[in-house]
Structures are given as structure tokens and as C-alpha cells.
């Protein structure tokens, strides 16, 4: 096996990506060839230096930061739509500050829809005003004025 072919495979050997047969062959060659051994050793040091440069120690503080960062939106987790008004806001991409305004608007809409159907609203103002008024004088408060002749009980022919 020539050196160039061996060097092509040295890195694959480091990466544990060589089939067993080829791996054994390269290892055998490295035992005999100082030049290839030096190349392999240099890469091993480079790799070690890279790992040392970018190696980070475990940080529980970092874990805490990530988990705190998730807190405002835990129900927006993965594949599950948030429910209620927040879900609506999320789906429509509405800004969060619109939430109170939406709430007030919904309350006003509910009031308009529900208020005319309540028992209290079914008693007309006219009925309340006429409750204490004698029957014969009620025409004065009626929404529509009655026929004048009928009220006065006067026939036109008598005038």
C-alpha cells in the first residue's frame, strides 16, 4: 500500500469510519512507518487542541437560564397550540399588547348581544310610567296618541 493512499485513510481511521479490515491494515502500517505516524500524531494533537479550545464544562446556571427563558411560553410547546385567547392571538400573529383591548371588545359585544334578552330589559319605560296613572289619563303618556275624539268622547258632528 502506498503512502498517499494510507494518508487518505488516516483521518477516516481517526473518525472510526474505516471497515475493520482496512483499519487493521492501516494500524499495521503505522507501526512500521515513522513518517505516517508523525502525520497521524500531528492530527491527533490538532484534534486535541480543538477539543480543548471548544470544550465547555457543564453549567447548571446555563440550564436554569434556558428553562427560565421557556417559562412565559410553556404552553406554546411543540406541536400543541395554546388554548383560549392566547392561542387565538398566536395563530393570528397578533401582538400581546392587544390582549386587554380584545378582552374589552369581547365584553362589549357580549353585553350588546345579551342585554336585550334579559327580563329587566323586557319591561318598557312606558309600562313603568303608566303604572301609577289612572286608566282614563294614560293616553297622555302613551307612545302613540289615541284618536282625540275617542278620548274626549266627543262626536265631530257635535262640534
Amino acid at each position: 500500500m502506498d503512502h498517499q493512499a494510507i494518508r487518505e485513510q488516516l483521518l477516516a481511521l481517526h473518525d472510526a469510519e474505516l471497515p475493520e479490515a482496512e483499519r487493521s491494515e492501516i494500524v499495521r502500517h503505522l507501526k512500521l512507518c515513522a513518517e505516517c505516524r508523525q502525520i497521524a500524531g500531528r492530527w491527533a494533537l490538532t484534534r486535541k487542541a480543538l477539543a480543548a479550545a471548544l470544550g465547555m464544562s457543564d453549567s447548571e446556571a446555563f440550564v436554569g437560564r434556558v428553562m427560565r427563558g421557556l417559562e412565559p411560553s410553556t404552553d406554546a410547546a411543540v406541536g400543541r397550540e395554546p388554548s383560549g385567547l392566547r392561542g387565538l392571538v398566536g395563530r393570528w400573529r397578533l401582538p400581546g399588547w392587544l390582549m386587554p383591548e380584545l378582552g374589552v371588545g369581547l365584553a362589549a359585544l357580549l353585553f350588546v348581544l345579551v342585554a336585550p334578552q334579559s327580563p329587566a330589559a323586557s319591561v318598557s319605560t312606558e309600562a313603568i310610567l303608566l303604572a301609577e296613572v289612572p286608566e282614563e289619563a294614560r293616553w297622555a303618556y302613551a307612545a302613540e296618541a289615541p284618536d282625540v275624539g275617542a278620548v274626549l268622547d266627543v262626536g265631530w258632528e257635535e262640534i
Binding site: E17, A53, V63, A77, G79
Partner: protein, 189 residues
């Protein structure tokens, strides 16, 4: 430690706190990934935090075809690339300046015996050399050397063929080796 798939099932079932187990398991490598990719080391932890938050919100779309770690590193790689492209202040250190100043230290770094711990200032120097590489070489080197992805996982993460992975990895290593060789031969000021 629970299997990643079990933890993900618990999170999807509503146990949000289970996500801390995944963060704990992968935080060091994701932070290392961001440290290697971003020019400013102080941005690394913020970027890593954003990666984990992105992954959390996308967890419902994780199908389990690949390992969770591969999926997470893909998010990390894409996030760092986006940050680099968005940053108008993205500046890499002058290679020439590094070459002039650090030759001896690089040589010392690459002569460290295998059983000796590499001094902090030399690891910082290595990070600066890495930062001088093109972004795509940095990405594949970090995914392979720091995150430990196999060739197949690299192909999935970078959305390319196995042959492309082998070719790109070879070129990236060659580029790094050339720069290290170059810098170690340069006369220090």
C-alpha cells in the same frame, strides 16, 4: 439517564420540566459549537440559549428519523450561520496579524505531549485560528471534532451526500493543517 426519545415523549405530554434533562445533556457541546462558530466568545452562551429555545418550540416537528442530537446540532449550525449573516459587525481577525504574532505559540500547542493538558492561552489561540477558516469548513470541523457526529450524521445535518461530507471534511482539515503549519513556521515578532 433517560433515553432522549422518552424525554421528548414526556415533554410532548406536558411535562415541560423534562426539557431540562435534554438541555443538561447537550448544553456543553452546543455552547462549544457556538463558541467555535461565532467571532465574539461572549455571544456563544446567548446563541446556545436561543438554540435550545428554538429546539423546544420545534420539538413537535421532530420526527425521530435521526437522533435528537443530530437534529439539535442542525439547529445550532443554522442558527450560528444566521447570526453570522445578520451581523453587520462580523469581522474575523486578520490572518496576517495572527501569523506574525503567534507562530511560536502554535508550535508549542502542536508539540504538547498527548498526556499533558493544553494551557488556556493556547486553546484560545486555537479558537482564533479556527475563526480564520471559511464558515463551511468551521461548521463541519466543529460538528465532527467537537460534537462527534459520524459521517452519516454529518450528511443528515448538512443535507448533503456522504461523498460531499468526506470531501468537505478533508478540505477543511487540510485548510486547518496548512494554516497551523504556516503559522508555526512564521517568525514571531
Amino acid at each position: 439517564m433517560s433515553d432522549d426519545a422518552d424525554i421528548i415523549q414526556r415533554i410532548l405530554a406536558g411535562d415541560h420540566q423534562a426539557y431540562a434533562e435534554l438541555v443538561r445533556k447537550y448544553e456543553a457541546s452546543v455552547r462549544g459549537h457556538c463558541l467555535g462558530m461565532l467571532p465574539n466568545p461572549s455571544d456563544a452562551d446567548d446563541a446556545a440559549q436561543e438554540v435550545f429555545i428554538k429546539a423546544y418550540h420545534a420539538l413537535g416537528s421532530f420526527r425521530g428519523d435521526a437522533a435528537f442530537s443530530t437534529w439539535l446540532y442542525r439547529i445550532a449550525a443554522n442558527h450560528c450561520r444566521d447570526l453570522l449573516r445578520r451581523s453587520s459587525r462580523h469581522q474575523t481577525e486578520s490572518w496576517d496579524a495572527l501569523l506574525e504574532q503567534q507562530g511560536d505559540r502554535i508550535e508549542a500547542l502542536l508539540s504538547t505531549p498527548p498526556d499533558v493538558e493544553i494551557p488556556t492561552e493556547q486553546t484560545e489561540l486555537m479558537r482564533r485560528v479556527l475563526a480564520c477558516l471559511p464558515e463551511q469548513y468551521r461548521t463541519i470541523l466543529i460538528l465532527r471534532e467537537v460534537d462527534g457526529l459520524s459521517y452519516q450524521e454529518l450528511a443528515e445535518t448538512l443535507a448533503c451526500s456522504l461523498d460531499s461530507v468526506k470531501g468537505r471534511l478533508k478540505r477543511a482539515r487540510q485548510e486547518l493543517a496548512d494554516r497551523l503549519r504556516h503559522i508555526s513556521r512564521a517568525p514571531s515578532v
